[in-house]
């Protein structure tokens, strides 16, 4: 059952990602990205990370992508124009992507024992909430990175406010 979920939503994520590249209109691409994010959320959930799944839906699909769509709508961006300008993309693109894929899979396969394995499915039936564990880890052993990230985001917000002000 949960393996079936994994396969369905994994395929949905891949299809969404490919559609994102092949669509010519920016709003269709943005919506494909939403599909990718929702499928990833389901995958997280099926791996037992339900808080991460909810955060993925609320933050990425619900807020970040809405802003993307918003900007596309506001700028009324038209269809993408296909050009034959960049030759380098044709020559280097596919071999480059293949090389990166090979490199990543080589690294992951080489460190297979160090990374450990996970089991597909079987996480949904238990009723233990992992939010307690996440918050324990976040506010004890990972407190410094957490606070540093908060300050970074605060600085980014202040920067955005300063840039958006009419009179500088």
């Amino acid at each position: 059952m949960q393996t079936a979920l994994f396969i369905i939503f994994g395929l949905a994520a891949i299809a969404g990602a490919l559609n994102l590249l092949f669509q010519r209109h920016p709003i269709n691409s943005a919506l494909s990205l939403v599909v990718v994010m929702m499928s990833l959320a389901v995958l997280y959930w099926s791996l037992g990370a339900e808080f991460l799944a909810a955060a993925q839906v609320i933050v990425y699909a619900g807020a970040v992508m809405v802003l993307f769509v918003f900007v596309v709508m506001l700028l009324n961006a038209g269809e993408e124009v296909r050009t034959h300008g960049s030759r380098i993309a044709y020559i280097a693109g596919i071999p480059g992507a293949a090389a990166i894929f090979c490199l990543l899979s080589f690294v992951f396969l080489k460190n297979k024992t160090a990374l450990g394995t996970t089991q597909l499915g079987g996480y949904l039936s238990d009723t233990i909430s992992n939010i307690t564990e996440i918050s324990h880890t976040l506010f004890t052993s990972l407190l410094l990175p957490f606070e540093a990230t908060s300050i970074l985001i605060l600085v980014a917000i202040l920067g955005a406010v300063v840039l958006a002000r009419k009179e500088l």
Partner: protein
Amino acid sequence: MTHLTTFEIFLLLTVLKIAVVLVITLTAVAYTVLLERKVLGRMQNRWGPSRTGPFGLLQPLADGIKLFLKEDMMPLAVERPLFVLAPIIALGCALISISVVPFGAETKYHGVDLFQIANLNIGLLVVLGVTSIGVYGIALSGWSSNNKYSLFGSLRATAQMISYELALGLSLVGVVLRAGSLSLRDIVNSQARHGMLSWNILGGFQIVGFFIYLMAAYAETNRSPFDLPEAESELVAGYHTEYSSMKFAMFFMAEYANMITVACVATLLFFGGANTPFGHIFDGVFATGFIHAVLPIFWFVFKILAFLLLYIWVRATLPRFRYDQLMSFGWKFLLPVAMVNILATAFALAFHP
């Protein structure tokens, strides 16, 4: 039932629950429209619909038939796939959130809870997530209509919804802190001990959170006094200007289904869900069988009706906000107050556990 496996019982009961809840929700949506028209009418010193059936009770049926039989216009300049997809997203997201709402006391039958479709341990986050996905329905409808009034309406609605989502989410954190869980069933059970006195709004001192939630919920559902996206004096009808027939009806139903969802969440989080306000005083009277199982549902429906009446009352009373007032109210008043509420609740829980 003995020849069925546990999984088959679970599957059958779940499909049955989904069907029953869907039918009841859609009927409730139809009759909320009638309720709104009747109550608004009486508040404005007129009758409201009174011709179809006794007291106008068949009006929703007549409206439904009218909307079904109308011509489904598809304007030439629309972006066709998204134009069709938008009302489906809006209505789908409005109806999905009902699935995590516990609408009665926990009653197990062969291990399946009868009065809740799915008891998720992140139920509250699911409601918030589905609400935030619902924004797409409105955003896409305005953009794909290829109409400037629709686009303005949907831009307003989107901006308003993502701004007020923050205040809405933060106003609920106090309740989550008190219950120590995100499961809606646990949150309801945490308020069950002493009847009305242990509800979050009274005994939990979450009254500030409740009012922030209430105001943010009006903005989330695009209801008056925050109904700028549909301001008919400026924007024709807002994001659903170009829609007709059933597609328009789907937006209309989504709005009222959202009202019901928001009323459900307010009831569950601040008013003790399906618990009676009297605690254990009348336990001896209604302790038996059928009434004991059905009485919580009565209380739940009663509380939701009270919220819907409040919605209608507010619509009949308050004028519409101006756009800049709406934004500064959300960001400069509701959000800071919600944060102060979280801090106060956290300190109170830390020092008086």
